[in-house]
């Protein structure tokens, strides 16, 4: 699959994602791809006959509409079964496959990997490095999943053809999703290809300072020259120029000149250009003139993948169960790293060579307590009901349909796990149920949490809704 088709398909999926629930989206579209697009016939790879047929029967119109819009043509869709090998995350095969037999491993494994924090030498070495740009933020260290794949692929495109593919390139998304990482990665990549080119990376605050300083010293020409000769300009957190008229004007002119000479501009923000208030129209329309992509808050899979990557960076082996545990406890990537470090410190202090689930839980314990205050039992009930499309009265009512029971038990579990309510309290909240009923429910979910993928998916889905 080439990059162009891949990009088109990512855009199509992004549209579809708005219309389909997350869980469905994953089952339906996870292993699909656009194989070819010739003579207005789009061949789409699907993982199995049944998925292909369902897409054809149920989503043909939506897919076609979105694809037609992308290509501005009238396309026919063809679904075939073909396996795609594109898992961006290298599969972890567990400790069994990490050992070498014949005693060699014994020696190696005895050296406890406590805080081997050096970054792996496998990263491409660079001649010097860019001011303000962190070397370790490159594409290889970026964990990709469906929430940030579009941004990732587009960033790679930009880095490979600066000034040609998307200009300006605008990334937006909430805190801690990796915007800055991608900006640094683009800068690093271009710098490695061509170290002579002038690259400027700065935050919008620094940009503001430079402009203000120049005006104060009555020496704007030097500053103008500095920015207007750059081959690559990256400005982080551009939303902070809101309401600063003079800075915006300066940026506007710089912007025009850079685009004209084919220099690449990359911007990041916490919201799309049109939503940055007090930004001149001419600027916001220019910001949106290239490619605007968003990064969503990391989903559960991504958080797990990030944890595994980070753990590797610190020289620790993390089992998938533990990574899941930790991922469930953190909202964004920054808190992920904090959690991981806490777990590592705990494990080190306990003289364990591996982060066990007990250690992870301990690390999480502190984390959840800090958050607890803001969460309310009603919130949990509301979101569980939203998730399963049932009414709170049904949840609290006497009916024992299988679907209601599942939702109810998950509510019990979450009230217990998130709010640490007593069994009696939970029973009262859920329509005066006996505490033994609650105990049974909580235990049932706990028991299935490991084995039943649907349950753990549901719970992480609800947690996402709750933002815990």
């Amino acid at each position: 699959m080439n990059d162009r088709l891949d990009t088109i398909w990512q855009h199509v999926l992004k549209e579809l994602k708005k219309k389909v629930s997350t869980a469905n989206f994953f089952t339906l579209f996870a292993n699909t791809g656009l194989l070819s697009l010739e003579d207005n016939i789009a061949t789409i790879a699907t993982p199995s006959t049944v998925v292909g047929d369902l897409l054809y029967k149920r989503f043909y119109k939506e897919l076609k509409a979105s694809l037609d819009e992308q290509t501005k043509e009238n396309n026919e869709l063809l679904f075939i079964v073909q396996a795609l090998n594109k898992s961006p995350i290298k599969e972890k095969t567990g400790p069994l496959f990490a050992t070498e037999l014949n005693g060699l491993s014994e020696k190696d494994r005895k050296t406890t990997p406590i805080l081997k924090t050096e970054i792996k030498p496998s990263q491409p070495s660079m001649i010097g490095h860019l001011p303000r740009v962190r070397k370790e933020y490159n594409f290889a260290t970026f964990a990709v999943s469906s929430t940030n794949q579009l941004a990732f692929v587009s960033s790679q495109n930009v880095a490979q053809n600066p000034g040609q593919s998307y200009n300006p390139f605008f990334i937006y998304g909430p805190v801690g999703v990796g915007k800055t990482h991608l900006l640094h990665a683009i800068a690093n990549h271009i710098y490695m290809q061509n170290p002579e080119q002038k690259t400027i990376y700065l935050t919008s605050e620094e940009f503001t300072n430079e402009v203000v300083e120049a005006i104060k010293n009555n020496d704007t020409s030097r500053m103008k020259k500095r920015f207007r000769t750059a081959a690559l300009l990256l400005i982080d957190d551009i939303q902070f120029i809101e309401g600063k008229d003079r800075v915006q004007e300066e940026l506007f002119h710089t912007f025009n000149i850079l685009i004209d000479q084919g220099s690449q501009i990359v911007l990041s923000s916490d919201r799309p250009p049109q939503e940055i208030k007090k930004l001149e129209k001419r600027l916001s329309s220019r910001f949106a003139g290239g490619l605007t992509v968003d990064i969503e808050a990391p989903d559960f899979e991504l958080k797990t993948a990030i944890l595994l990557k980070k753990a590797e960076k610190y020289g620790w082996e993390l089992s998938i169960e533990v990574a899941k545990l930790l991922a469930n406890g953190a909202q964004d990537t920054r808190s992920l790293e904090g959690l991981l470090l806490r777990a590592i410190t705990l494990a080190t202090s306990l003289q364990q060579s591996e982060i066990t689930s007990e250690v992870a839980l301990k690390a999480l314990g502190k984390e959840t307590e800090e958050k607890r205050g803001s969460l309310h039992a009603d919130d949990i009930i509301k979101e569980v009901c939203n998730f399963y499309s049932i009414k709170p009265t049904q949840l609290k009512g006497p009916k024992r349909d299988a679907s209601l029971v599942r939702a109810r038990q998950i509510t019990m579990y979450m009230l217990k796990a998130e709010l640490k309510l007593t069994l009696v309290e939970i029973g009262n909240i859920l329509g005066g149920r006996d505490h033994t009923t609650v105990m049974h429910g909580v235990e049932k979910i706990e028991g299935q949490l490991e084995g039943n993928v649907h349950i753990s998916q549901d719970i992480s889905g609800i947690k996402q809704l709750l933002r815990v």
Partner: protein
């Protein structure tokens, strides 16, 4: 559509067919069963997109046709009926189920919306004794990972061998391996162009749950559709194949050992069960101390002695109790040989009778 059939026969099959009914509320068609009546047969199908199940029942078809019914309500109704036979009728919009004393009406969705389960059966890979296959599979499938984020480990590796298969499953902490040899009456065909594949463990687990009278189970593989089909009697189970690279399992299977212990499976299982009660508080660690004529199984201060014949030097090794319980409950023999080289290398469980099976578990490193 109008069709009459025996209620008992339908009840028997509904339980299994519901295994493949989706629980995803957002794709309503998958909450339905597809009923197709033609040529004195009623076919029922269900799918959750991962696997699909199709069951054939003999029936008296007055008017052929097809319709979908909401799986859960339909099953509940059928299971509550006491009549011997029932009639299913449909004019395309509603579905009516009648017995001599009851009449129930279902809202339905168009049968055309229901996805097709498979295009072709593919090539016959094997026709083997179902009981035998299930027994062997049981000893392997439990080792597969339940983590869908690791596709290759969530399946069972199947490699064709002369007159049989090699089956391997692992979750990265333990591994089961079985050389399955076809029996006298069995038939195994070599598949061209695909000597190995990874079959989702879930498909095997469902295959184990197929309860049919027919002695043989047939396996079909279609490379074009990337699918495997299990067919036994009137049931067809369809699953996709996993497209991934299976880890190199050969390099982690120890070739020699420094000590071997033989023991009774049941006795060891009991010992581990007792210790696992106390292991809960210490990260599920259970220790084996191999001594002259016994294995001391321990969790902290709690010990159980198991009689055993030991050959080789005395040694110690520790495992996660969960993996031990799984292994000891599933090992296909009562007489087990346990082999190890040191506390940090995988421990190997073999059946005493033959060398076609092995199970190995990664030990836990314990600090003294």
């Amino acid at each position: 559509m109008q069709v009459t059939l025996k209620a008992e026969e339908l009840k028997n099959k509904l339980g299994f067919i519901n295994h493949a009914v989706s629980n995803k509320q957002q794709l309503p068609i998958l909450l339905n069963l597809l009923l197709e009546a033609k040529e004195s047969k009623l076919n029922l199908s269900s799918t959750d997109l991962e696997i699909g199940i199709q069951v054939e029942l003999s029936a008296e078809v007055k008017q052929p046709g097809k319709i979908t019914v909401p799986a859960r309500t339909f099953s509940e109704l059928v299971n509550s009926l006491s009549a011997d036979s029932l009639t299913i009728e449909s004019d395309g919009s509603n579905c009516v189920v009648k017995t001599n004393k009851t009449k129930s009406i279902f809202a339905t969705m168009s049968a055309n919306e229901f996805p097709r389960l498979f295009e072709e059966r593919g090539v016959l890979l094997a026709s083997i004794n179902a009981e035998e296959m299930k027994k062997e599979l049981n000893a392997v499938v439990f080792s597969a990972s339940i983590d869908i984020a690791r596709p290759s480990l969530s399946g069972v590796y199947v490699e064709q061998e002369e007159n049989g298969f090699l089956l391997v499953a692992t979750d990265g902490y333990r591994l089961s391996l079985k050389h399955f040899t076809a029996g006298k009456d069995d038939k195994v065909n070599l598949l061209e162009g695909k000597s190995s594949m990874i079959v989702p463990a879930r498909a095997f687990k469902e295959a184990l749950a197929m309860k049919e009278e027919t002695e043989k189970i047939e396996l079909y593989v279609s490379i074009n559709s990337n699918q495997i089909i299990f067919e036994q009697g009137s049931i067809i189970l369809i699953s996709r194949l996993i497209e991934a690279e299976f880890p190199n399992y050969e390099k982690i299977i120890p070739v020699d050992f420094s000590v071997t212990a033989s023991f009774d499976r049941e006795e060891m299982l009991k010992a581990v069960r007792i210790c696992s009660i106390f292991a809960r508080d210490i990260a599920n660690v259970i220790k084996f101390s191999l001594q002259k004529d016994k294995i001391i199984v321990s969790a902290g201060e709690n010990i159980v002695e198991v009689d055993s014949k030991i050959k080789g030097e005395e040694n110690e090794i520790a495992f996660n109790s969960r993996y031990l319980l799984d292994a000891l409950s599933n090992l296909p023999s009562e007489n087990i040989n346990f082999e190890m080289t040191g506390p940090l290398n995988p421990g190997v469980f073999k059946t005493a009778e033959d060398a076609s099976y092995l199970h190995l578990i990664m030990p836990i490193k314990v600090q003294e």
